[in-house]
């Protein structure tokens, strides 16, 4: 059976340097498909879809709310040609009802152990409109090695530098943060993958640089310590979400190749100051993630927060505007109070103010958002900060002999495209 799996394009974050990482959801999903299925993967951010290409079944994998409208267009286009479409992925789960209007089937939940049945239904012309496994998680042991072989790796290469590969060591998250939908999607029970599977998959990835996409590694200290201990011999270098603030954990993380951490900077406090310093003390970089527009955010607070970021000596900063994704508390609150200004999912890019802020006008918050990027990167421009962070990983690799060098044949290409003359 020929199965074409599409990853719809979306508008990237304004203000941030363009980058494209190899998608994670589609390769994890592909591992749940039976081995005899012939998969063709298309990342529309980097490739053009040929709607006339032959396939038996079309899969559309959507991670972001800002992908769904494009995903629906793609689904409509294929169905016009008589090709059946099944949609899945995080954003499909968040927008299940709307998505079902554009697809022959929607799959909600985690795919492991379920796709044989879905494909049997398809072969028997009995595809169900909805496969709802949203709260019915498969055994975590059944998560297979992600099928990175379906990716066209040269597309995820920038001037000879291979982008990080994405990897997950667990599912679920014990936290339930205000703007986040993970608890709705993956549940609040932390579900770690068996260490032997984690190590097997990590070792098989033909890339020394990774992004461990688990929502937070700070879930269970004993697990965290063992995870890092298991990872040390692999000599991978990686970025991730927060790590526990504990001497032993941070030391093991550094030994295991922690390169930098995405750390939410949510207030001006010694707690945050110390958190960033502690990572730096262990040689781990910090990319601050700063969410603007919460109800207590006054104009003065946001300006003071930006000054604070500069004091912290963050390696990088990424600014986003509060975005009320469906199935989050933020959506419930803002929708309930009639404060959402746009329900056009294409606007849900995290860089647009699409709600009425409590302390200022939407326009003022939008201006402050744009100012935040400018002020933070004024003295040290983004390319220079990225160079410094990149230099850190090269230095770490040089130290332990894992540096591979750049791919010289790719130096004139950016994400598969010829370099545009300056």
């Amino acid at each position: 059976m020929k199965f074409t799996l599409i990853y719809p394009k979306w508008k990237k974050l304004r203000g941030q340097t363009e980058f494209h990482l190899p998608p994670h959801g589609p390769v994890v999903f592909a591992a749940a498909l039976p081995k005899d299925i012939e998969i063709k993967f298309i990342d529309e951010n980097l490739e053009t879809i040929d709607f006339d290409d032959q396939a038996d079944l079309i899969g559309i994998s959507m991670m972001l709310t800002s992908q769904v409208k494009r995903g629906w267009e793609i689904a409509d286009e294929y169905r016009k040609r008589g090709l059946p479409v099944i949609c899945g992925g995080i954003a499909t789960m968040l927008h299940a009802e709307e998505t079902s209007l554009h697809a022959d089937a929607v799959f909600l939940g985690e795919a492991e152990g379920r796709m044989e049945q879905v494909l049997d239904d398809f072969r028997n012309n009995q595809l169900r409109k909805i496969y709802d496994y949203l709260t019915d998680f498969p055994p975590i042991e059944s998560v297979g090695i992600a099928r990175r072989d379906i990716l066209k790796r040269q597309l995820y290469n920038y001037k000879g530098i291979q982008m990080v590969d994405l990897f997950h060591a667990s599912r679920g998250c014990r936290f339930d943060c205000y703007p986040c939908c993970v608890s709705y999607l993956g549940g609040r029970k932390f579900r770690p993958r068996p260490f032997e599977k984690v190590v097997e998959e990590l070792a098989a990835i033909d890339n020394n640089r990774l992004y461990i996409v688990d929502n937070s590694l700070s879930q269970d200290r004993t697990w965290e310590k063992q995870l890092f201990t298991e990872m040390i011999p692999l000599k991978k270098k990686w970025c991730c979400h927060p790590i526990d603030d504990d001497d032993e954990v941070l030391d093991l993380a550094a030994q295991a190749g922690a390169w930098f951490v995405y750390q939410a900077i949510f207030d001006i406090s010694d707690f945050i100051r110390n958190r960033v310093k502690r990572y730096h003390d262990f040689g781990i970089g910090v990319e601050g993630t700063i969410l603007l527009g919460l109800d207590h955010h006054t104009e003065d607070f946001i300006l003071r927060l930006i000054d604070f970021l500069l004091e912290l000596e963050l390696d990088l900063a990424e600014f986003t505007v509060l975005t009320p994704f469906p199935h989050t508390q933020a959506f419930e609150d803002l929708h309930g109070e009639g404060r959402i200004l746009s329900y056009d999912w294409n606007d849900y890019t995290c860089d647009k103010v699409i709600f009425q802020p409590k302390q200022m006008s939407p326009e003022r918050l939008q201006d402050l958002y744009d100012e935040a990027w400018k002020i933070f990167y004024r003295e040290k421009p983004q390319p220079y900060r990225m160079f410094e962070l990149f230099k850190k990983v090269i230095d770490k690799e040089m130290d332990d002999g894992s540096y591979r060098g750049e791919q010289r044949t790719q130096t004139k290409r950016k994400f598969g495209r010829e370099k545009v003359p300056s």
Binding site: P383, M386, E388
Partner: protein, 87 residues
Amino acid sequence: MIEDLILKLRKEIIDQLQLEGISPEEVDPDAPLFGEGGLGLDSIDVLELVVLLDKNYGIKIRASKEGPKIFYSVKSIAEYIMNNQKK
């Protein structure tokens, strides 16, 4: 003389960074290397500049607060070379 060094540096930068569609004469020595209105260099280009300074001038650049000032423009790089190259 710094003018001679700037001339040489412009050509070396174009070669090292594999910049296409631009001649050394078109590189404004005072224009910022990053962002709009200049060469629009990226992080990998900075890495290449660090390699260039080491290879051609024996100057090792460590990540430092001075980095963005050194790499502000072709002229600022030339000035840094003049002040730091071993005689």
